[in-house]
């Protein structure tokens, strides 16, 4: 089942912060985050493997709450380069790297 991302879109001014949420109706074992710029391929940002674990990429960090079955991506002091669509991906219960991606969150950072 597809994870649900919110918000669907967000507009920021350079330097502002934003939070993107990814929620699942099923138990989460890990969460992947990817960013896709317009006309390009999705690019891997980070994987969260343990509950409560936080990771970072540039000034982008994420947390993973197993109990709440959700992950949040934090865009801190956003830069123009952060614009794009952010996807979370969750693996199934069975072993393997098969991911189901959320619908994406469009982020636009303006000067």
């Amino acid at each position: 089942q597809q994870p649900v991302q919110s918000p669907q879109a967000v507009i920021l001014r350079e330097g502002e912060d934003a939070v993107i949420n990814c929620s699942s109706s099923k138990a989460l074992y890990s969460v992947h985050w990817y960013r896709q710029k317009h006309g390009e391929a999705p690019v891997f940002l980070m994987i969260l493997l343990k509950g409560g674990e936080q990771k970072g990429h540039e000034k982008i960090s994420a947390s993973f709450n197993e109990k709440k079955q959700q992950s949040s991506l934090y865009l801190t002091a956003s830069q123009l380069s952060y614009s794009g669509t952010y996807f979370c991906g969750t693996p199934g219960q069975a072993a393997g790297n098969k991911l189901t991606f959320g619908g994406g969150t469009r982020v636009l950072v303006k000067p």
């Binding site: 992947h32 391929a41 493997l49 393997g96 790297n97 994406g104």
Partner: protein, 115 residues
């Protein structure tokens, strides 16, 4: 940097024609995925392979789509016959192994338009 290579980059063809898309995974990666991306459906998994063996193709319309890995350096996705509703961007991705703690590396995609 090692990259996943997809060809062709763009393909425009008429309904009913056969379409073949190719993917060269990153050397040493043993897991390959095919995704389709549309505005309406988002990013959908069509099929994936590990060590060249198909593991899951449940996302793929079986009557017209087929996916194969003739060898470790080549994955193919074929559509025969093609239909306008197949118009989408098709991505190939590879991962170092089949564990869920491995990132997926995407190719640049094939932009397919069926007229």
């Amino acid at each position: 940097d090692a990259r996943v290579t997809q060809t062709p980059r763009d393909k425009v063809t008429e309904m009913g024609q056969e379409v073949t898309m190719r993917c060269q995974p990153i050397l040493g990666h043993n897991t390959v995925f095919w995704y389709r991306q549309t505005m309406m459906q988002g990013l959908e998994l069509l099929a994936y392979f590990r060590n060249r063996a198909p593991l899951d193709d449940s996302g793929m319309p079986k009557d017209r789509f087929s996916a194969e890995m003739p060898d470790a350096t080549l994955a193919t996705l074929k559509i025969q016959p093609s239909e306008p509703r197949d118009s989408a961007v098709y991505f190939c991705a590879s991962a170092a192994d089949g564990n869920s703690n491995q990132p997926q590396h995407f190719g640049d995609g094939t932009r397919l338009s069926i007229l």
